[in-house]
Subunit: 138 residues, 6 copies
């Protein structure tokens, strides 16, 4: 079993808040991340897939294919977008890095399975100091 | 003459657009950076000051003071804010990295001069691949 | 289960040596790290906590709280300090990165448990080439 | 149980191809990585070893010894070399990052075991976006 | 005057040698970089352009255009190539980082001038420890 | 004219203080950097040399020679040392990053001149956020 990881980037706007809270309550719970006029990040995404290297190619999975799946299913939806307002798989959810990593896992898993590989983890850095990793439901 | 640099970070939302353009024109000129619902970045800011080291302290300028000026004049206004809508010194300007670097220079220069030091450059990374540096009007 | 990581930094002096050894023996075993007049590092600390994201906040644990616990229990004691002489939880121990990571785990674990989260790992980089990770007693 | 990691670097040339394929078939399967006149990378290697810290030294394993084993068994053979043509343990294998990580594991494991430590993983970055990790046969 | 920088990457094989030298002489002068079967690097390229931000766009130069010029004139020729054997503008030259930076300058300068901007510098990192910068003939 | 830069690292202990001050005064002026029992850093050193590439080698200066001069004149004296107590060229000076960069310049300049090259700058990072650059007396 070998693990391969592809790093990608996207730049998005978001806001942490609950619609039923007042701005003051949101500020108390979520701090400046609740700013009603949005802020944003350069997200760094690391997708890890596991499997045995093919005898034919030496690859666990062709990284160009993995990169294409990430582009189609994740970057196309998130890059230069507003996570709260424009991303279908985040509708009705808090736009925390945790929920975003789970959402990205769910977007990626079927396409990676179709290619005969196994998604191992989705790691998401909101800033270089704040990092989330999700391994699916175990 | 010695040059000292302080790195700081801020996370903001912005949009590149001209209000007199249609969304289509903005998209043609500014690409996905013109998304009307905003996107954002982890900006990396490097402020360089020059001078002779003090005999008393060995410092060109106390980096804690420089860091405090940057916090008061720049981070307070930009961090977790919408650059187009909430930043006084960017009102009426295109929110390009170039204009932002010039704006930050103008915010910082008087306070640094007050401390007896000379502002040399403001360097601003929007992403790790897109970097702007401004040295003032020479 | 989601894993969140907070990165922090501290700058400390230390020395690798056994008091019962002569300087020559310490030099032979620990190399230049045994220099009797100390040396130091910019330590990079990564604390990973695991749990399920809260329905209320979308957070496994509020990173501001995690950061505060790290500041109170670890940075306050280690930053700009001499690890051999000034850090209570390292008294009588060799100041290796391994022992320091274990010590930091023991400092952090009760406070993180109090917040309802589970400490998963403490990763400590002494230099960018020398890295230690500790997962507790398993 | 504590995990320690040593980072090292090497710069090599390689090519992805199958000798029984035509250049066109290799290009279709391996893309520009199949260029017959080679290309190359700055490989980043992270070797992780696990064990209990020694009471005598505080070390899981002396990183100078680990670094020496990596130099003798891996860097000496790979650094400034052609992976396809000059590396004994890669003869007859596709020079993919996956196969290279497995080959490096096999080179390192006996020497690390001799030192009383346990090799945990070999992580290899071909570029900062393409990363492979191998944990041995489990 | 504002300076903007675009970072790009390419992965190439090369060899440092003089054809009139024996392998032994090349080894003495160029060390392991003279390996006759090649080695390679992940080159990091930083291209800096200067000018006044446009009133229309806020840009010194559209980074997408700059990126396109770098792709067409430099990456297309260098990425996944053998610098000694396949790159027209390096024919007959020693494949040192210095000569490569000068060659890249000469490839880029006319296209950037056509866009009304001024090329300021070409910075090229062969490894993270070896860096060359060229400012043209002054 | 081409500029080449070599990056090196050293790990040292230091303290910012004036001996004629009390500990309280030192704390007021230098903050926690004045801790009497020392602290330390992973210093990152970038030495830039300028000249014309040799027709014989394509090099402004052989980076192995530059690296050797830095090792002999700087790293040998500073690495795993106490800057205040053990470094001859820092005796009697405040151990600020500014003074250290000037001291390193003076150590390196004659040896680089002997090799027919011109020292352009000494850049020293105490932490990734605090950086000093010195260009000599101009």
């Amino acid at each position: 079993m070998v693990y391969i990881t592809r790093k990608e980037h996207f730049n998005s706007a978001h806001r942490l808040f609950r619609p039923e809270y007042s701005d003051e309550e949101n500020l108390r719970v979520f701090g400046k991340c609740s700013n009603p006029l949005w802020h944003g990040h350069n997200y760094l995404l690391m997708v890890t897939v596991k499997g045995e290297p093919s005898r034919e190619t030496g690859f666990v999975m062709d990284l160009k294919k993995l990169s294409q799946i990430i582009a189609d299913k994740v970057l196309e939806k998130l890059d230069h977008r507003n996570i709260n307002l424009e991303v279908d798989f985040m509708k009705g959810k808090l736009a925390s890095t945790e929920n975003l990593a789970i959402g990205i896992w769910n977007e990626l898993e079927p396409g990676i399975r179709c290619e005969g590989a196994v998604l191992h983890s989705v790691k998401l850095e909101e800033t270089e100091n704040n990092i989330v990793e999700y391994f699916g439901i175990i």
